[in-house]
Symmetry: C2
Subunit: 371 residues, 2 copies
C-alpha cells in the first residue's frame, strides 16, 4: 500500500480521515506513542497495539547513534526489529540534536554534534537525515529542520526558517533517491510565533510539495494560548488534502484545541513519561499515584475501562508499586495512559464523524477538569 490520505469528514475545522501506509492504515486524528530508541518505554508492542494505536514514532537522533541506521537496515528495518507490525513515523533528528546533543554546530550544509551517549562526533545533513530514515524503513519521514527555541527574535526566526526551507528542498531531492516504495515525506512549517514567517514557510513548503505538513517549533515554552494562536494562523495555509501533524503536542486539552483547528496527527512524551513518574490520566482528571491519599484506595483507575491496567489493579496497589519502585508501576501506568490517549482519539474521531465535535470537546474538557 502506498501513502495516501483520505479525508472522510469535516466538522468545523476538525477533520476525520485515514492515512494509508505500506504497513497499514492510520485513523486520524491520530496520537502516535513515542518509540524513542526503538521501544515504547515500558510497553510491549502488542500492548501498544491493543490500546488502539495505529502508528508509533521513532527518533532518528536516538536510533542513528544506537543501534545505528545501517544496522537497523541489515536487521530488516525498524518494524521487524521492534516486532511492531504497523506504520512508523520517524522524526528527522533535528529537534533532539538541539535538545540533547552537545557541541552542536549548524551550517548551511547541516549540523555536526557530539553524541550524548559517548561524545562521538556525528553529522546530520538533510540528505543523511533522509537516508537514515529510509534505512530505518519509516513509513513517514520528516524533513530535517532547525527548531527555534522560545522566545526567538524575529530576525533569528526568519533566518532559521529560511535555512529549514532550503534543507526541506534538499530533503525532497534526497527522498527521490533514498525513499522506499510507498513511503512519504512530510515538510515542517517553522517561523516561531510570527504569522508572516509561518506564511512564508508554509508557502515555500507547498511550492516544494510534500505528502503531509507538520507544524514544528511549538510546545517549546510559548504556552497554550500562543501555541493555539499560531496554529490558527498556520493550518489554513496548509493543503486541505494532506495530513497535518502538530509535533510534540500535547495534553488532552491541547489535542482537543488543535483538532478544532484542523490538526490530524500528534505525538507526545506525556502519556509514557507521566506513567514513569507515577501519574495516571483518567476521565475524572489526572492522579498522582505517589500521593499517600491513594494508599488505602481499593478503586481501580477506571472500573469502566476496557484497559486491564486501568481496570484490574487497585489505586492502593499502584501507589505501592510506585513507592516500591517496581517495574510494574511504569508498565501499568504507561499502558493506562496510552490507552487513555487512544480512547480520547477514538472519541474525537467518532464525534467528528457524527458532526458533534464541539460538544464532545466541551464535555471532555469539563470531565477532565472534574466538573
Amino acid at each position: 500500500m502506498s501513502f495516501a490520505f483520505d479525508l472522510k469528514a469535516r466538522d468545523g475545522a476538525a477533520r476525520l480521515g485515514e492515512i494509508a501506509t505500506p504497513h497499514g492504515p492510520v485513523r486520524t486524528p491520530a496520537f502516535m506513542p513515542l518509540g524513542t530508541a526503538g521501544a515504547v518505554k515500558a510497553m510491549l508492542p502488542e500492548t501498544v497495539r491493543a490500546t488502539g494505536a495505529d502508528i508509533v514514532l521513532g527518533n532518528t537522533y536516538h536510533l542513528m547513534l544506537r543501534p545505528g541506521a545501517e544496522r537497523v537496515a541489515r536487521l530488516g528495518g525498524l518494524q521487524k526489529l521492534m516486532n511492531w507490525h504497523g506504520p512508523i513515523l520517524t522524526d528527522s533528528g533535528g529537534f533532539q540534536v538541539m535538545s540533547l546533543a552537545k557541541l552542536r554546530k549548524i551550517t548551511e550544509q547541516g549540523v555536526t554534534f557530539q553524541s550524548h551517549i559517548d561524545g562521538s562526533t556525528h553529522e546530520l545533513t538533510p540528505e543523511r537525515a533522509v537516508e537514515i530514515q529510509s534505512l530505518l524503513g519509516a513509513d513517514i519521514q520528516m524533513v530535517l529542520d532547525e527548531c527555534t527555541p522560545f522566545p526567538c527574535e524575529r530576525e533569528a526566526a526568519a533566518t532559521s526558517m529560511r535555512l529549514s526551507l532550503r534543507w526541506a528542498e534538499r530533503c525532497k531531492q534526497a527522498f527521490a533517491t533514498y525513499g522506499g516504495e510507498g513511503q512519504a515525506l512530510f515538510g515542517i512549517v517553522q517561523g516561531s510565533v510570527y504569522p508572516e514567517l509561518r506564511e512564508e514557510s508554509a508557502a515555500g513548503l507547498r511550492d516544494i510539495g510534500f505528502d503531509g505538513y507538520a507544524v514544528g517549533g511549538l510546545a517549546v515554552g510559548e504556552g497554550q494560548a500562543l501555541m493555539l494562536e499560531t496554529l490558527e494562523t498556520t493550518t489554513p495555509l496548509l493543503p486541505e488534502d494532506r495530513p497535518r501533524y502538530l509535533m510534540g503536542v500535547g495534553t488532552p486539552e491541547d489535542i482537543l484545541e488543535a483538532v478544532a483547528r484542523g490538526v490530524d496527527m500528534f505525538d507526545c512524551v506525556i502519556p509514557t513519561r507521566s506513567g514513569r513518574h507515577g501519574q495516571a490520566f483518567t476521565w475524572a482528571g489526572k492522579l498522582n499515584l505517589r500521593n499517600a491519599v491513594h494508599a488505602d484506595d481499593s478503586r481501580p483507575l477506571d472500573p469502566e475501562s476496557v484497559c486491564p491496567a486501568a481496570r484490574d489493579y487497585a489505586r492502593a496497589y499502584l501507589h505501592h508499586l510506585v513507592k516500591a519502585d517496581e517495574y510494574l508501576a511504569p508498565m501499568l501506568l504507561s499502558w493506562a495512559n496510552v490507552h487513555f490517549y487512544q480512547e480520547l482519539m477514538a472519541g474525537i474521531r467518532a464525534a467528528i464523524g457524527e458532526g458533534r465535535f464541539a460538544a464532545f470537546a466541551s464535555e471532555t474538557r469539563a470531565r477532565l477538569r472534574g466538573d
Copy 2:
C-alpha cells in the same frame, strides 16, 4: 479447596505430584517465581501465568514493611491486590531480616530489626509472622526460622536450629488461631551442613507436624556439592506424603539435582534477576545480551519457543535494549527466563511421569553445557 498433596508418581527419588490450595492446584516439581514486594519484577501477572507458573512467592519482610499486612488484608488480600488469581506462598521474613534489615537483635521471643527502607523498628515473632502471612492471605505459609550463615560452627548451628524448632512449635500454635480456611503451614529444616543437626531438626518438625517441609539454610555460599550432600541426607528424613521445598534454589542444574533427591518445590531470584541484568537462559546455554557479539545477530533467543519474548525479538534488538537501558529489556528477558524455568519444570514433570527422569536430566545437563 483445602490444602492437600497428591503424590502421583515416583522415578527413583524424583516425585511427580500435585498440591491443592484454596486458589488452585500446583503441579510439582514446581518453580515459584518471586513476587517479592507484591509483584514479579517486570512482569504482568497474566504473563507470569502464561509461562506455566502455578504459584508465586511473596516476601513477608518486604510486604510487612510496605504496603503493610493489615493494609493488604483490608484491600482483600495479596492475590486480589496483585491481580494474581493463583496460589501464593509467603516466606516468614526470617531470611530477609538476616540479609536486608539493620540492627537486628534475636532473642527467644523473636527478632527486632530496623527497616532497610526508612529505619523504623519492627518486631517479628513466630506469632506475628503467622499473623502477617494470614493477613496477606497466603495459601502456604512458612514458619519463622533463623537462617544460619555459611560457614557456621557446629555449636552455633545447633543453638540456632533449636531456637528455630521452638519457634516452629509456636508458629504451629499461632496458625491454629490465625490460619485461614484450607491454608497450609510448612516447617523448615535447619542445621547448616551437619547431618546430625538436620536429623534432629527434621525429627522435631515431624513431631510438631506440618503440611509440608522445607529445607532451609542452603544456597548460602556452601557450594553445590555440599548443598546436594546435605540435601541427600535431609530429604529421606521428611515424610513421603508431604511436599518438600528447597528454599532459594537455584540454577537449572541445581534444580535437576535436587529433584533427583526428592524435592518438589523451588523458588529463586535467578530467572528474574538475570533478566534484569541482561542475561537470558536458553536451551543452548546462558547468554549475556550485553555482550557486543549479539549486536548484529538477527536470531531470536529461541526460534522454536512458544514464548513470544524468546521467539519474536532478535538478539540484536535485545542487546540494543539492554545497552539503551530500556524497560523492555528486563520485561522481555525476565519473561523469557521465567518461561524457560517453567519449560524446565514441565520437562521434569513429564519425564518423571514417564519414568525417564535420569535420562532427561542427563540430556538437559548436556544441552545446557552446549554439548
